[in-house]
Symmetry: C2
Subunit: 155 residues, 2 copies
Amino acid sequence: MAPAPPRPGDLLTIGALARRTGLSVSAIRFYETRGLVAPIRNAGGQRRFPRSDIRRLSFVLIAQRLGFTIEEIAALLSALPEGRTPTLKDWTAISRRFRAALDVRIAALTRMRDNLDGCIGCGCLSLKKCRLYNPQDRAQRLGAGPRYLLGDKSS
Amino acid sequence: MAPAPPRPGDLLTIGALARRTGLSVSAIRFYETRGLVAPIRNAGGQRRFPRSDIRRLSFVLIAQRLGFTIEEIAALLSALPEGRTPTLKDWTAISRRFRAALDVRIAALTRMRDNLDGCIGCGCLSLKKCRLYNPQDRAQRLGAGPRYLLGDKSS
DNA sequence: CTAATTCCTCAACCTAACTTGAGGTCAAGC
DNA sequence: GCTTGACCTCAAGTTAGGTTGAGGAATTAG
């Protein structure tokens, strides 16, 4: 048999990756600055991505749609191996952690909804008396909300 | 009986309202620009809020924590009466609509989680083949995500 | 070899939801 | 009646998550 070709298509340009993921080129570059992908550069200084980044970015998109921030996603992805291409096993492990995080969110929302049900009848919809406004639930960060209340005080 | 006093405390200053809700003064002013509250002004040009705005803002806070945007909350609140103080019945009606919106969010998240479960084994975590990345589910807006994909194209 | 693509960097802009600060007024206590 | 604290407006800054554009270099097709 003829020797296998050197597979020049083993690495993707940023444009090709954009087409494969549906992302814009600028978004991919932005994700690089956030550490979600780490392409190598060719001789001319252009980015080259391993094919496994298609899956990596797909994961990013899915996680974002579920309400995770880029930072949280980066944390989840950091569980993937550095040098080698992630295996199915790697992805399974990360998906499991992901599912757990999702479960937490769903539970929190459900709890809130149930509290709301309790409040519909009682008219207690005023802060502090109502379990709905329980600081304990604050860990969630769904949406923005006043930073003052969220304890931002970052100075 | 002596005639009831004129109840000068019937209107709150912005500072008092801030203390009662836990919000910052600047946040309340900001909410006014967004139409969430509509205080009157006294002779000196200072804002005066009806006591019912305490509950109104409490509702805003709760809704925000559940992931609603200011605009969405304004829409929910627009169901409240204009002139008079909202009654318990008014609040009950609005809470019901609120609960429905919450149910939609919970259902969407749960559906996604179940899809993810299906994906953990199959390794299909690549866009387009996977139900997790179904544009049908896009209506949700949980978190930001690339505008390009979200069909922003607002030019 | 040249023209058309594609890619590069960097800076500026965008929305949401606020905060911070400057410069000035109002209200309340003594 | 004055001082102190609360309030006013308006402009600019902040974070997240990107987009847009300028000016220039690398690739690729013919």
